[in-house]
Assembly symmetry: C2
Homo-oligomer: 451 residues x 2
């Protein structure tokens, strides 16, 4: 499972060879450990004139103990600053001429960002702007942030966060996630924060205290990592997997001090058995549902068996769909609830030999997009992660050439870890993310692959 090359490239001798031979240079990414500060240095905050997010962002950051340096001040000497993050409020950009404010901020300070630094551009969702010129200018921010993500390197990430008017105070969970090491492998993403308020958890290190979470496919790999991260963040976890994975599942349940539930979700009666189990529990419901269970059965469609089509669609798409329907129908997901799907970059870009898998994962995106608006009034959010190349037992079995291509063809020159996917899910699950719904966020190190 280990990326031996990355370990080598970060060793003393390796570093020299990588430089001399022009080899891929995967940086050691900053990942979150409990107690870590949000950033590795001060946050340089800039804004286009007339923006509405710089001041709320400044307050949030200062309350979080982050030192904020002001880029607007002419006292700031670009040459001397070494910062952990560049945060720019672009909501004041109301036409294409004013895009120049982006250059004025990033040009002098681009080199001041430390390793594993963070770039966050705050904008207004184009669909929520006041004029086509403003919508156009705000839409163009995507090109900037995605280019910066590819340009800055050394483990830096770059994101565009569209905050709906009226969502100014709901952005804290997202800023915290994106600034911290929790988002190590998330870059080049466009995130939408909706209008409304989001309750701040009492303790940002344990935002899920008092919540009950269900994680499917939890016995190993990404699912086990999700269970562990949700438990670390305070949730009580029900780890679900098929009976055949019982031993590994018991280990995860023990480690997370949670419960193990053996169930094959493709069985006709599985949704009702699950609903019965949850209804009978002390909470008569579940706060967080993570549909992680998934399988691959790769073949070109000409060589694929009927069973390989049916089983992949069944496990990856129809099962979460049926489970959602029944849990929602029976009112087992209360207001404040969170549903998270696991899509894939194959579901976005398609993949040779994966017609079944890509169809199922594009369907997971469809689930999010079709259900999220319907669940808004019930106070439930529905989002998805779309993992790229993640180091698991599954990817370790890939042929060397494909594996190395998947690992290196992204802005981090390395694969992600299961924990990176789990951290992103934990951010969706946070009470602070109450106005974030309908998002599909890739956890792919800004993979070159897309559509």
């Amino acid at each position: 499972m280990a990326d031996r090359y990355a370990n080598f490239a970060n060793s003393g001798l390796g570093r020299t060879m990588v430089k001399r031979l022009g080899l891929p240079d995967p940086p050691r990414l900053r990942r979150h450990r409990p107690g870590d500060p949000l950033t590795t240095g001060p946050v340089l905050l800039g804004a286009a004139p007339g923006g509405r997010l710089a001041e709320p962002a400044r307050k949030l950051l200062e309350t979080s103990g982050v030192q904020v340096t002001d880029a607007v001040s002419t006292d700031t000497d670009p040459t001397g600053v070494r910062v952990g993050a560049l945060v720019f409020d672009a909501t004041g950009i109301r036409d294409s001429a004013r895009l120049r404010a982006l250059y004025d901020f990033f040009h002098p300070y681009a080199r001041s960002l430390r390793s594993s630094g963070r770039v966050i551009v705050l904008g207004t969702p184009p669909e929520a702007t006041g004029s086509p010129a403003e919508a156009t200018a705000q839409r163009s921010l995507e090109g900037l942030t995605r280019s910066i993500g590819k340009e800055f390197g050394r483990g830096a990430t770059a994101q565009l966060v569209y905050v709906a008017p009226g969502g100014e105070t709901a952005v804290e969970s997202t800023l915290r996630f994106l600034l911290s090491g929790r988002s190590a492998y998330v870059s080049g993403q466009v995130i939408r924060v909706g209008a409304g308020d989001a309750p701040a958890p009492a303790d940002w290190e344990r935002p899920l205290d008092g919540k009950l979470a269900l994680v499917t496919g939890a016995a190993r790999g990404i699912g086990a990592a999700i269970a562990k991260v949700l438990a670390r963040d305070g949730a009580e976890v029900i780890a679900l997997d098929v009976p055949a994975a019982g031993d590994a599942l018991a280990d995860v349940a023990n480690e997370t001090r949670g419960r193990a539930l053996q169930l094959d979700l493709t069985a006709a009666d599985a949704p009702s058995r699950l609903a019965g189990y949850l209804a009978a529990g002390p909470r008569a419901g579940v706060d967080i549902v993570v549909h992680n269970a998934g399988i691959t059965r790769d073949k070109t469609i000409a060589r694929m068996s009927e069973d390989h089509w049916d089983s992949v669609i069944g496990v990856n798409l129809s099962a979460p769909e049926r489970v959602n329907e029944l849990l929602l129908e029976r009112g087992l997901i209360p207001s404040g609830g969170r549903i998270v799907g696991v899509a894939s970059i194959a579901g976005i870009a398609g993949n040779r030999g994966q017609t079944n898998y890509a169809t199922s994962k594009a369907g997971v995106i469809g689930l999010v997009q079709s259900y999220a608006p319907l669940l808004r009034d019930r106070g439930i959010t529905f989002n998805a992660v779309a993992p790229g190349f993640i180091e698991t037992a599954m990817t370790a079995k890939m042929p060397l050439g494909l594996r190395e291509a998947g690992r290196r063809l992204n802005s981090m020159s390395q694969g992600g870890l299961p924990a990176d996917v789990a951290e992103t899910i934990a951010w969706f699950a946070s009470p602070g993310s109450a106005t974030i719904t309908g998002n599909v966020v890739r956890v792919c190190g800004q993979s070159l692959l897309g559509a």
Copy 2:
């Protein structure tokens, strides 16, 4: 400008070496010549039960002189068929279980498709479906078609065409474009055809007869190709470019029997001078406006000059924006009008060294998305193409490694030609595309690059 490797790989000796050494194998793509039939063989038509598009599609195809073979009939022997296209009506798929119909159609016939064959899946836009389950299933079609595009090879293309309910008869221009050699370098795309009727041109070989078209940046490269293809399709063309390109521009105007207009669109008075020119013309307006003029000034943002930022944003984004605003304000684009922008895959995915260019091209997408809904009532459509690696004088100057990567990292293993971009624009411009608006279609051979 030529792709010498592709020529070599398609030569007698080259073919043998490519096979023996496992080299990239760029197929010779079928491209449209006037008089060519739509397809290279019969169209195999299939449908999920309960669909609404198979019968309209069958009629359109048969009227166009295409032989239609029915996949639903049990008489069809998969082993014997050799077809030019696989067309599948997926609108009957109303839940994830029924996705199985896709497998039942494509599994037996995947191998029957000829070189440069076509795969078209017809669906219902998820936002126009009757239930979340149907929306989910329709959304999942994206994963299927994009995977097929990567899987089939040999110059085959695969697209998903979402046809809004009530748009059944408006799909002809799109089917014709996608089946023909005009769409040689378009693959893996999702196209939306809106509700309503679209007038069929009297002659599909000259659909733009009687139309006046303005093409900016028309002196060379992609712009010159656009002028030529629009003229071939019957339009009278005003070829516009900066005065410095005057000689080349005159050549294009002569070749297309059109007019040359020397104008620097970034000048403050350029939009009003252009508007005056068009108002004074015999038509007092213009039917088709193609905003092709664009420049690159590549540098990382840390090394980029102010001027390089301003000029790229100015030419690529602000100029078309200002021209549109004035022409629309003065009523110089009549009902039936067409506006087409030229974005870029860099505007979708971002690119190292192109913060300015990617910002401007993402802005072009923003223009389309913000203006298209506003122009619907005026009978004007606004779409964009997003070229990938196109063989031009510009790409010929790229460093060898980058050039070869750009050329080969797509489903066609080769770069596209300027005419491929032009053909896509001509399809948007057709009277038959009256209900197609707000689309951004990549002309990239299904490049791996994306977001």
